[in-house]
């Protein structure tokens, strides 16, 4: 497509512009929704910006208006007043049906049409857009592949022949069919068992890494919100934003007692779940290989004032620990020390693991320190309980500093 100088007039044109459509921002401006026959407004003067390519979670108790808010974005519910801009375009200026074909929509229990095959379910939007048959079937297979279902096996099955998790994967594939810049997800994993739910959450994050859609995700599950949301909007009655911030900030600095109550206690535990091992400062142990001489290593340990050395193989993969005591009086190489010993590592953790998983590994391994590996099991550092403790303290400290800074910026000219 040649560079067009005209600005797109609809989401359809916007979506057709690029090869792969990344997200576009969504702006809600003074949005109000009143249902006839009810006293208060379901959504009371809501203004918020959802940045392009981010997952924004609307989190709140049932009846707070979070679903209503989401459904106004694709005009399943029309706002009483206010404006909604998607990619800078007024949603009201576009035909609702056409608008919706370019906004992915995923609901609880997937909402697949039971009388149509999986393939046909996914093909619905492309069919409405008038794609050619070949293009549709190629797209269906591509999407099935993307959500982790083998096309040959699943294309011709019916929804009732699938498990709940598989159905929701198809639901996501259907929503992605026309490569929409925006996805709306209304408690999509709410009806699934905990294990399947976790799997699909991980899968969604993986997909999002690849696709960078703007995703509005409604849930009342705090853990789900903290895990998925780049940003979380905690909503009170009438869809009033109580706090709109990153998970970290909400945990370390809840806006008020409502938020505190809503996310529950154990915010330190939740931070553990949120923070990745690779994001914290790791212990650096003295390294050695099988070929190093024991005397050299002992000298290095003494220099570093450390009792332990980690032995790595030729590809930098961790093999085992050796203590200063073992090295005492040893001659020859490190490799000579271990004839017959089977103290090889069975516990290593990946840098992608969360701190919670790291703590679990530490407790299970009966070791005070567990090596952390990166790509191809390459050693990158080690983690101990005090590493974790320090990391949490640092996050809290950082948030506190940021808060102070923001407070200072908010009151310019006031001497502190």
């Amino acid at each position: 497509m040649p560079e067009s100088t005209e600005t797109p007039q609809s989401l359809a044109e916007l979506a057709a512009d690029g090869e792969r459509t990344g997200g576009v921002p969504i702006e809600l401006i003074d949005v109000v929704k009143r249902f006839s026959g009810t006293k208060g407004a379901a959504v009371d003067d809501l203004t918020m910006t959802i940045p392009a390519g981010e997952i924004v979670v609307l989190l709140g108790p049932s009846g707070c208006g979070k679903t209503t808010t989401m459904r106004m974005i694709n005009r399943l519910i029309e706002p009483t007043s206010g404006r909604i801009l998607i990619g800078g375009l007024d949603a009201r200026a576009q035909k609702p049906d056409e608008l919706r074909r370019h906004i992915g929509y995923v609901i609880q229990q997937a909402g697949l049409f039971p009388h149509l095959t999986v393939g046909s379910n996914i093909a619905q939007v492309p069919q409405m857009l008038g794609w050619e048959k070949d293009r549709i079937s190629a797209r269906v297979d591509e999407l099935l592949e993307l959500v982790g279902l083998a096309p040959d096996e699943f294309r011709d099955r019916y929804p009732r022949q699938l498990s709940g998790g598989q159905q929701q994967r198809v639901g996501v594939a259907r929503a992605l069919a026309a490569d929409p810049p925006v996805m709306l997800m209304d408690e999509p994993f709410g009806a699934l068992d905990p294990i399947t739910r976790e799997n699909l959450q991980d899968e969604l994050l993986r997909l999002q890494d690849e696709l960078s859609k703007t995703i509005v995700f409604v849930t009342h599950d705090v853990d789900e919100a903290l895990k998925l949301g780049d940003r979380i909007a905690i909503l009170g009655t009438g869809s009033k934003i109580v706090q709109y911030a990153t998970a970290e900030e909400i945990l370390t600095n809840p806006a008020d007692s409502y938020v505190e109550q809503f996310i529950g206690g154990e915010s330190a535990m939740k931070l553990l779940k949120l923070t990745r091992v690779s994001d914290v400062a790791l212990e650096q142990a003295v390294r050695a290989t099988e070929a190093d001489s024991a005397a050299d290593v002992r000298r290095k340990l003494e220099e570093a004032e450390s009792d332990w050395v980690i032995v790595l193989d030729a590809q930098d993969r961790p093999l085992r620990w050796e203590s200063l005591a073992d090295l005492e009086g040893a001659t020859g190489t490190i490799g000579d020390l271990t004839a017959g010993e089977d103290d090889l590592f069975d516990t290593v953790i990946s840098g992608r693991a969360t701190l919670q998983e790291a703590v679990e590994a530490l407790l299970n391994a009966e070791a005070e320190v567990v090596p952390v590996v990166g790509r191809r099991r390459r050693y990158v550092g080690a983690v101990t309980l005090s590493t974790v403790q320090q990391a949490i303290a640092e996050i809290k400290e950082r948030e506190r500093r940021q808060r102070k800074q923001r407070a200072a910026e908010a009151q310019p000219g006031v001497a502190v």
Binding site: L99, I107, A110
Partner: protein, 217 residues
Amino acid sequence: MTLWEYIASRSDMLAFQTLQHASMIAQCVLIATLIGVALGIAVYRNERATALATGTTSLIFTIPSLALLGLLVVPLGLGVWPSVTAITLYALLPILRNTIVGLTGVDSSLVDAARGIGMSRTRVLTRVQLPLAWPVILSGVRTATQLAMGIGAIAAFVSGPGLGDQIFSGLARVGAANALNATLVGVIGIVVLALIFDAVLVLVGKLTTSRGIRIHA
């Protein structure tokens, strides 16, 4: 004269009457299906309209068929017209009721999903709601067909076409030669027709219902 001799001696006429009966019922049920489904679609979303439509058809249902046929003779005369009108009116109720039940029974989250992915109202109806309601509607059509078969027999009272003629002429000449034979032929003929129609409708159901909703996982 045995029953077989009776049938053999006037096989042409009996075959004609059977065909007439079958064709009348088929056409009446077809018309009733078209009207019933259309009416059902028109009213199912509005509680009051639904009550009005089912109320009216139920009211027609309570009128004895003989009385309705008699009443229809006044504006429509004797013969085909009052018969067809009466049968169609009776067949309407089960079809209309099942259409409403079928359409309201479609999971509302599916309609929401269909709207949410950008289907127009018409498309939601034709692609999602009607296919899902179809088994229920079809069972209404089956009930209506059985009902129409019986009422079709009574249509002979107003000189309507079909096998009813055999029954009525037999009953009118009770005790006379072949009176029993005529009545029996009429009754058995209608029963056999009813069974055939039902079998055909079951087959139609099998062929037109998606495998996806026949599966119960």
